[in-house]
Symmetry: C2
Subunit: 123 residues, 2 copies
DNA sequence: TCCATATTTCCAATATGATGGAAATATGTG
DNA sequence: CACATATTTCCATCATATTGGAAATATGGA
């Protein structure tokens, strides 16, 4: 990933509504969530939601598929991974003790065993 | 970390110049880099740089200390860790196989043994 | 075909962010 | 104190993002 693409992704996430949408989809997993359901859960006006979904989608952070009358959105975990990797590239100038805890926390989150939420909260 | 704070951090990073600054500091490690040195390396006009450093600082992503005539900026690895953790909170709805690779990549980055750059590039 | 549901597109008003020149402040030096 | 260096603040301009109402499009069902 290069700088420009990362900028697009981060600025897409740098918006309260879009970040809420993205997190909802990250937590929802592969099945994803229909646009209408997102609007209901986050209390968003349909057109605003649509614009924001479009921005996230254009940034590559989420994907969409049609299912009957609904359009289902889902997080793109590969894009998310690339983005986080980019942020941590050459992290801390080779001093492991600085950024090791960072990896620890994230490894726990990736374990996805149900305990990761509380462990993250306390971190 | 709550939604609003994460939004501030992400939108601070969602800008080409600021993201370049932040990565430079993340790679520089704890010693940090003087403002003037950042300006030189990234070819930025002093006042624009100052404004952007201020935004990153206000978002908590970087810290500053004065050293003689210079002001030295350094990445705040704790804030970075909290931000990445927030993005991955309750990741993927409990399906480890989806976001496990994400943790793998980041664990490698956190290892900081000098090989992490190439490993990240290929990921 | 007609209607209901789901989502997007169009549009205009408003707000927020980015930029750089010039001046101001702070520190160190002779 | 006078001067050079380092960085910030002030300010005005310009560009971009956000918003929601209303209309348009797409799908499925009677």
């Amino acid at each position: 990933m290069e700088l420009k693409a990362a900028t697009v992704s981060l600025s897409a996430l740098g918006h309260e509504g879009r970040l809420a949408i993205f997190r909802l989809l990250v937590q929802a997993g592969r099945p994803g969530v229909a646009a209408g359901e997102i609007a209901r859960r986050l209390a968003m006006v349909p057109n605003t939601l649509s614009a924001n979904l479009n921005i996230l989608s254009h940034a590559g952070l989420i994907g969409a598929r049609r299912e009957g009358r609904s359009i289902i959105y889902a997080a793109d975990y590969g894009a998310m991974s690339a983005l986080l990797g980019f942020l941590m590239e050459d992290c801390c100038g080779g001093a492991p003790e600085i950024c090791a805890p960072l990896g620890d926390i994230l490894a726990k989150a990736a374990a996805c065993d149900g305990t990761c939420q509380t462990e993250l909260e306390t971190a």
